[in-house]
């Protein structure tokens, strides 16, 4: 699949990818390497995986990482209850050998094992990998480089099809070099004005041109202010939905609605105080 096709395909499912991201996705698919996405919160890192899955009509398997995530939650676990029941039942009837207890029937597949045992290549999203412990990264290495999982009781399970792996991180801690070396890398930043307009148009075609320009302009200006939580693309889309839902056509005409809907953009009390009506007037004035 060529670069343009990827970009078009993503655009069809409502995701605007810049050239470099399209290149990253292209290489991830042709070279069969995982793709590590970094960037500030709310720039659409997770969304990439969803869009890719939709575009390829593939299954999306998601593993949300958190502190303390371990192999039994991410890779596989034995179904102890069933094993115990089987033992009890066999005690009553007499004769189940141990070998029968460690078979596929008693294996609970968690996302990673599930991803490599699919027939059709799925999209595997490992979200916020930097939240997981460093030990977990070590588990990932075998899967990401060879696409195989070793289960001591069963042996090594090889991938039936190579999943497209997308990892996201936003800098909670530094990832190990070993993991980085196995991945392609792409840094997503806040979009430029034109890209953001395109995103808004793709997601909400019903928003009028004037309002769209104002929304994007104000959000872009807000990102330059000194805020605790910089509004991302998701916040921008929420705000656009709120404004157009209230029937606003021109921000300068409906200041009250703008101020009331700011809760969609600014998520802390300090940030909210930092954008009083005067400041918003100034920002809107600049855009218009």
């Amino acid at each position: 699949m060529s670069l343009q096709e990827i970009q078009q395909g993503l655009a069809e499912v409502g995701y605007v990818a810049d050239d470099r991201l399209a290149m990253a996705l292209h290489l991830a698919q042709t070279l069969g390497r995982p793709l590590l996405l970094e960037g500030p919160a709310g720039v659409g890192k997770t969304e990439v995986a969803k869009a890719l899955a939709a575009q390829r009509a593939a299954r999306l398997i998601r593993l949300q990482c958190y502190e303390g995530l371990d192999a039994s939650h991410a890779i596989y676990e034995w179904n102890y209850q069933r094993q115990l029941l089987a033992i009890r039942a066999s005690e009553a009837q007499g004769g189940t050998s141990e070998a029968q207890l460690f078979t596929d029937d008693y294996l609970l597949k968690r996302p990673l094992l599930e991803a490599i045992s699919e027939e059709e290549p799925p999209v595997l999203l490992i979200d916020e990998i930097d939240r997981a412990d460093e030990e977990f990264e070590a588990y990932l290495l075998e899967i990401l480089s060879d696409f195989q999982i070793t289960i001591p009781e069963l042996g090594t399970i090889k991938a039936r099809s190579r999943p497209i792996v997308i990892l996201t991180a936003n800098g909670t801690r530094d990832l190990s070099d070993a993991l980085r070396r196995r991945c392609l890398y792409s840094f997503l930043d806040y979009p430029s004005r034109e890209t953001e307009m395109a995103i808004l148009k793709a997601r909400m075609p019903e928003v009028e041109r004037l309002l769209a320009r104002q929304i994007v302009g104000v959000v872009q200006a807000l990102r330059k202010e000194d805020l605790e939580k910089t509004p991302g693309i998701a916040e921008m889309l929420d705000w656009a939905a709120a404004l157009s839902g209230l029937g606003v056509n021109d921000m300068a005409q409906s200041r009250e609605e703008v101020q009331a809907t700011l809760v969609c953009l600014l998520k802390t009390a300090a940030d909210y105080d930092a954008a009083p009506p005067e400041v918003m007037d100034r920002l809107i004035g600049k855009v218009a």
Partner: protein, 395 residues
């Protein structure tokens, strides 16, 4: 656009790519022979004759982290289009001239950066938001004349005696590193069993305690943020203090180091560089104006508005190394310290003058600062630095 001139022995694409990989490695990116093979495979997968596609593909493959991502375009241009060889005479330092055969400082060169911006897509233009750039483009206006003469910090870092200062810093870092929380939390490994969870989980196993959950006291290390004054009045101490900072950074604690005179710059990454010659080179590039006037409150405000939000938390010790002589408003200094105070756990001021006999904090700035300090300690000799360790144990 110039065509790259390659050594005559470079026979084909593979040679040139391996040269490019070596060039990246020389500029501090972690790439090796495996990446050379990958790069060739990646070029096969794209239109390798299209320079922009090749650049994007190699960037995606080789950048590895956010820093590499920002620098890649400049490094790429420099190698393939020879921009590394165009240098403005004024932007050179002694250190760079020594290594002129090995281009190192494109990221510093505005000319190269501009070319990149015009040459490539807008969205891929390098972000100016990294540490060095902030120091350069900072909003602060010097309250005194800025001394722009460049000084090579290597002459300040090469003595054996400095090792003592580093050791003192390591001892301090060790004193505050191994802190553990008082509470026990669930953990993968740990000395004690979490009986409640074991019992609860055993219900699912028919009363058999099969999963053993554990608890441990999680580490709660203290962070150190060190702000070091390198203005004119501190010149005699700065060599020792730089070694001290290097010791703090290299000790495995979470530490962050900044230098300030009339501006503030973050030097953590430069100090962490294992190649100490390169570290010295990076420092001297950053420390333009080293040995000029001081603007403590302005620097602290700059710190608070920029890095402070990430660097400070309830477990942070802020260490200020300065003599307190400053040309700005003492009231502003007090306000800045009050703001730091609200965010950080402790503020410790290490003052080389404090060790003097009969020293009184009569400088207006020190008087304004005193109420906000948890400790105001002497730091004029190596012994004084070494004697700080028990003080930190208490903090």
């Amino acid at each position: 656009m110039q065509v790259t001139r390659f050594p005559t022995r470079a026979s084909g694409l593979a040679d040139r790519i391996s040269g490019f990989i070596a060039h990246l490695r020389m500029n501090g990116m972690r790439v090796g022979p495996a990446e050379t093979a990958d790069a060739l495979a990646a070029l096969e997968a794209v239109e390798a004759t299209d320079a922009r596609q090749a650049q994007q593909a190699l960037c995606v493959l080789l950048a590895g982290n956010a820093d590499g991502w920002r620098r890649f375009d400049d490094l790429f241009e420099a190698y393939w289009f020879n921009t590394g060889k165009q240098r403005k005479g004024t932007a050179q330092t002694a250190h760079v001239r020594v290594q002129s055969a090995k281009p190192m400082i494109w990221q510093q060169e505005s000319q190269a950066a501009q070319e990149t911006e015009t040459g490539t897509d807008q969205a891929t233009a390098p972000d100016p938001g990294d540490g060095e750039a902030v120091g350069r483009n900072g909003k602060l206006i010097a309250t005194r004349t800025v001394n722009l003469s460049r000084r090579d910090l290597r002459e300040l870092m090469d003595e054996d005696a400095l090792r003592q200062a580093e050791q003192a810093a390591t001892a301090i870092a060790r004193a505050i590193r191994d802190r553990r929380s008082r509470r026990r939390k669930q953990a993968l490994r740990g000395p004690s069993l979490d009986m409640r969870r074991i019992q609860r989980a055993s219900l699912a196993r028919g009363g058999e305690p099969m999963d053993l959950y554990r608890r441990a006291r999680p580490p709660r290390p203290m962070r150190i943020v060190a702000l070091c004054d390198v203005s004119g009045s501190m010149t005699v101490y700065s060599r020792v203090f730089l070694a001290f900072l290097k010791g703090l950074i290299g000790s495995g604690t979470e530490a962050d180091a900044y230098l300030f005179h009339t501006r503030l710059m973050r030097v953590t990454d430069a100090l962490r560089d294992h190649d100490s010659l390169r570290a010295a080179g990076r420092l001297s590039l950053m420390a333009e104006g080293f040995g000029g006037g001081t603007d403590i409150s302005g620097s602290l405000e700059h710190f608070l508005n920029g890095y402070g939000a990430r660097a400070l938390n309830g477990r942070t010790i802020v260490l200020i190394l300065s003599d307190g002589y400053c040309s700005s408003d003492p009231q502003a200094l007090g306000d800045a310290l009050a703001r730091i105070r609200r965010k950080a756990r402790r503020i410790v001021w290490l003052n080389p003058l404090k060790g003097w006999r009969d020293y009184q904090p009569i400088a207006a700035a020190m008087q304004a600062a005193e109420p906000y300090l948890d400790a105001h300690l002497p730091a004029n000799t190596l012994e004084a630095l070494a004697a700080l360790e028990p003080q930190f144990r208490k903090l």
